[in-house]
């Protein structure tokens, strides 16, 4: 393994251990104010829900990092990319891990939103890691747009709650919300964000596209973390969700729809990762249904389901990657019989598949037991739907595993690194351990449910060897699933038709049409705006000028224009102002670029002198320095341009149509600016201005110079923003001119 892989693995392991220790020592947290006047706090707590998702993010993250240590170098070799691209991969993976842990532990809705968006950004770069491929770029953008646009709904929901209750703190909100329109609205908006993130119908189309990502990324993001963040949000805002029965029922509907759409399409996919992606859509459908059914069983079941699914599904995604590395094939129709060449992989992924199919002795059996139990408690109709969903899962997961590992060998496999199979076997082993010894996993799910419900949850799972409803339902699900596997001819045509119908009429078309029309509109406006320099400047100045003009017309003019008096002491100032004005007029004359630049600089220097006379030495100093730097920069940039074209431009004559239009426009603008400034300067200031307060407070800031105190203290955040812009401008220029090389 390379150094970045080792470092990432160590960090992931450390984070996992720390999370466990944190859970052991009982929900530690930190709470710091960072903008108390806005009610914003840096507030984190490792509660049950936080522990569950942090453990998933760091634990499965660790397995994925180990796997990537072997996978990414091979991947880069296939694509003939330099080895240093590995750093980028592991950096992004760690960024994702951090944002996921931050999301899971945030106790403040604004923080939650920030980490929510951070996961989306990290996932954008991870999905688009093969940036030379158009497919990967489109997929990355689609994931970012779908989850990013719906993230705004999360923010709106947050603000709705803040407007009503005046706090962003989740515990405080949970304590004070009462059922009603406001909470239902906010919860609906937030739930939509969550559903889009966990790829539920009708937002599900981004997930299969995101399979353009490298396999470890899919295993991490699209099984255990990014997609799980969606249901995490449902768990976090469950107290708001449960205020409205209608909303919970809506979740049940969406969950079942996703379950069946994902399940049916998964039955028809040939590419391994596509099959797994649709299976993820379907599996998170289960979780959404469980949250929708609610009650203790539903909420504990949802958390338990997330654990079971994350373990099993990430193992299967890693299997898909290992199989592709070993054989070079990614399609079910090209694969088969790999149990002979890759027995360890067959065993590990077999356990994981058995877990998803909910066979006894795996953790998956209990996930389905809780699922059936919640269904039975609600109504017989729901119970039947849960059986059908479980049967679908059985069928497509069976199809995956049998297709890859049983039957005649189709594609020969060469040996792969133990790091590619090890994590799969380990995750598969955990699936088995969870089936034999479910207590720790159930304790985790109970703790998570406690955080959602706000009350103690103690659901226990055992193997019952009797004819209770859950066992019978599981048996019928196996039977239906096995029948479907045995006779594919019965359903193949119908499933294919459904899948094709979805492609023809599905929500992805809406997305594509929307993006296309937005692009066209943007192109059109861009075309008008930047056709030449004049339209570009006009696009800023004309709307701005019109607004100012409206303001001018609306302002009462009585006494607004006064003429002051001059005495002898002002002579120098008047002279300097006259110089500045002359210099400004002179800028219209030169034809050579360099001359024009120097004349324009002279305007700036004369204004600096004006500041000095008016008693603003700080401003004068800055004006001189900035003017000098800008002039040098302009000279440098002119030197970059071809001499010939500069000469040609200098020799260009103004076309006759512009000879009158341009001076007229300029004069009108100047007159308007003159009137506005004159009007503003004629007003005596009212009351204590901010400036006076700054002067008064300066000694408190241990300063004698007001300007410095304003820059570093009173308006320090503005300064921080401004210097950040300076830094970004520097990096941008380096990107434009030297492909991002800074030195």
């Amino acid at each position: 393994m390379s150094l970045p892989a080792r470092v990432s693995a160590a960090l992931a392991a450390l984070a996992f251990v720390l999370t466990l220790a944190g859970w052991w020592s009982g929900s530690p947290g930190i709470d710091l104010p960072w903008a108390p006047s806005l009610g914003l706090r840096l507030s984190f707590e490792l509660d049950g829900l936080g522990v569950l998702y942090s453990l998933l993010a760091t634990g499965i993250g660790f397995a994925v990092v180990l796997y990537s240590g072997a996978y990414v170098p091979l991947h880069l070799e296939h694509q003939q990319r330099p080895h240093r691209d590995e750093v980028r991969f592991f950096g992004l993976l760690l960024l994702f891990m951090v944002s996921m842990v931050g999301l899971a532990t945030a106790r403040d809705l604004i923080l939650l939103f920030v980490f929510w968006d951070l996961t989306a950004i990290a996932s954008y770069f991870l999905i688009g890691y093969d940036r030379q491929e158009a497919e990967a770029r489109t997929a990355a953008l689609m994931a970012l747009v779908v989850t990013g646009v719906t993230a705004v709904l999360l923010l709106i929901g947050t603000l709705v709650l803040y407007a009503e209750y005046g706090t962003f703190s989740i515990p405080e909100l949970v304590a004070s919300v009462e059922p009603g329109g406001t909470v239902t609205l906010a919860a609906t908006l937030m739930a939509l964000a969550g559903l889009a993130k966990c790829a539920q119908v009708p937002f599900h189309f981004w997930l299969p596209r995101a399979m353009a990502a490298p396999s470890p990324v899919s295993a991490y993001l699209h099984a255990a973390a990014m997609v799980a963040a969606g249901v995490f949000l449902l768990g976090r805002i469950y107290p708001f969700l449960e205020t409205s029965e209608l909303l919970l029922d809506g979740l049940v509907v969406v969950g079942f729809a996703s379950m069946f759409v994902g399940g049916i399409v998964a039955l028809t996919r040939d590419r391994l990762k596509q099959l797994l992606a649709y299976s993820t859509v379907s599996q998170y459908g289960y979780v959404v249904v469980l949250y929708g059914l609610g009650d203790t069983v539903g909420v504990v079941g949802a958390s338990f389901y997330v654990i079971a699914h994350a373990l099993a599904k990430s193992a299967l995604f890693l299997t898909a990657g290992a199989v592709a590395e070993a054989t070079g094939e990614r399609r079910l129709s090209e694969l088969g019989g790999l149990r002979r060449a890759m027995p360890a992989l067959a065993l590990g992924s077999g356990l994981a598949a058995a877990g998803l199919a909910a066979l006894p002795l795996t953790i998956g059996f209990f996930k389905d037991e809780l699922f059936f139990q919640a269904g039975v408690e609600r109504s017989p109709g729901i119970a039947v739907l849960t059986i059908l969903g479980a049967a679908l899962t059985f069928a497509y997961i069976g199809r995956f595993w049998i297709g890859v590992f049983l039957g005649p060998t189709r594609a020969p496999a060469h040996r792969v690194s133990a790091l590619l199979t090890g994590p799969v076997v380990a995750l598969g082993g955990l699936v088995l351990v969870g089936g034999l010894l479910p207590e720790p996993f159930v304790a985790l799910a109970n703790a998570a449910a406690e955080a959602s419900l706000g009350a103690a949850a103690s659901v226990d799972v055992f193997y019952h060897l009797d004819a209770r409803a859950e066992n019978l339902m599981a048996l019928s699900a196996y039977a239906i699933g096995a029948a479907a596997l045995a006779a594919p001819r019965v359903w193949r045509a119908a499933a294919e038709t459904c899948a094709r119908l979805g492609e023809r009429l599905g929500p992805e078309r809406v997305y594509v049409a929307t993006i296309r029309s937005l692009n066209e509109t943007s192109d059109r406006i861009h075309g008008i705006e930047v056709r030449d320099l004049r339209t570009r400047i006009a696009a800023i100045l004309v709307p701005g000028g019109l607004l100012v003009l409206l303001g001018l017309l609306a302002t009462p003019t009585a006494g607004a224009y006064t003429v002051g008096s001059l005495d002898r002491g002002d002579t120098a100032l008047v002279l300097v102002l006259a110089t500045a004005a002359l210099a400004a007029i002179a800028t219209t004359l030169p034809r050579q670029h360099l001359t024009l630049l120097l004349v324009a600089a002279s305007v700036g220097f004369s204004l600096a002198v004006v500041y000095a006379f008016l008693g603003g030495p700080d401003v004068a100093l800055v004006a001189v320095l900035v003017e000098t730097t800008l002039t040098l920069l302009f000279i440098g940039v002119f030197a970059l341009m071809p001499r010939a074209s500069l000469r040609r431009l200098a020799a260009l004559r103004t076309p006759p149509t512009r000879r009158w239009r341009d001076p007229l426009v300029g004069a009108a603008a100047a007159l308007a600016a003159f009137l506005v400034v004159w009007g503003a300067l004629s007003r005596p200031s009212v009351g204590e201005s901010v400036a006076e307060e700054h002067v008064r407070l300066t000694p408190d800031a241990h300063a004698k110079d007001v300007v410095t105190a304003i820059l570093t203290d009173f308006r320090g955040l503005d300064t921080l923003g401004e210097i950040t812009v300076v830094a970004i401008a520097f990096f941008g220029i380096a990107t434009l001119l030297r492909r991002g090389r800074l030195s």
Binding site: V637, L711, G716, F730
Partner: protein
């Protein structure tokens, strides 16, 4: 293009320029000047060397390759100062020591966190201005070669 006289003068001027920049930075709290001005003054000194001696010689003479490092370090310093108050349990960018408290003096320079912030601004502005002009100069020599 440049005479021997300018070449000598520009080298001689560099040290005083840096000293003036340092003075402007240190005296920022009691008189004219602050980190921004100091950064630009120091950068102008370096750029003068660049203009007169050319990119290659200037690179050999001065550690300007480190300009991006300076810029990034400056940004980090300002960020650390900004968020350090959060760790102390106060709102963002609350400077220490608080109003009225005693401050250690070094001549006119007072040791307060606002000065550290200003040093960050200085480093960032210095690094960015030198870096930007150097990027343009290098782009030109790369285009020429």
């Amino acid at each position: 293009m440049t005479s021997l006289l300018t070449q000598v003068v520009v080298r001689l001027l560099l040290a005083p320029t840096i000293v003036i920049a340092a003075a402007v930075l240190a005296k920022g709290y009691s008189s004219v000047g602050d980190g921004f001005s100091a950064g630009v003054i120091a950068a102008l000194g370096v750029i003068a060397v660049y203009l007169v001696l050319g990119a290659e010689q200037a690179d050999r003479l001065l550690p300007v390759r480190l300009a991006p490092v300076g810029a990034i370090a400056g940004l980090l310093i300002t960020l650390v100062v900004t968020f350090s108050s959060v760790v102390r349990g106060e709102p963002l960018l609350t400077h220490a020591p608080p109003p009225g408290a005693d401050v250690i003096h070094l001549g006119t320079l007072e040791l307060i966190t606002a000065v550290a912030f200003d040093v960050g601004v200085f480093l960032l502005v210095f690094g960015a201005v030198v870096g930007i002009l150097r990027t343009v100069a290098l782009a030109r020599s790369e285009a020429g070669s």
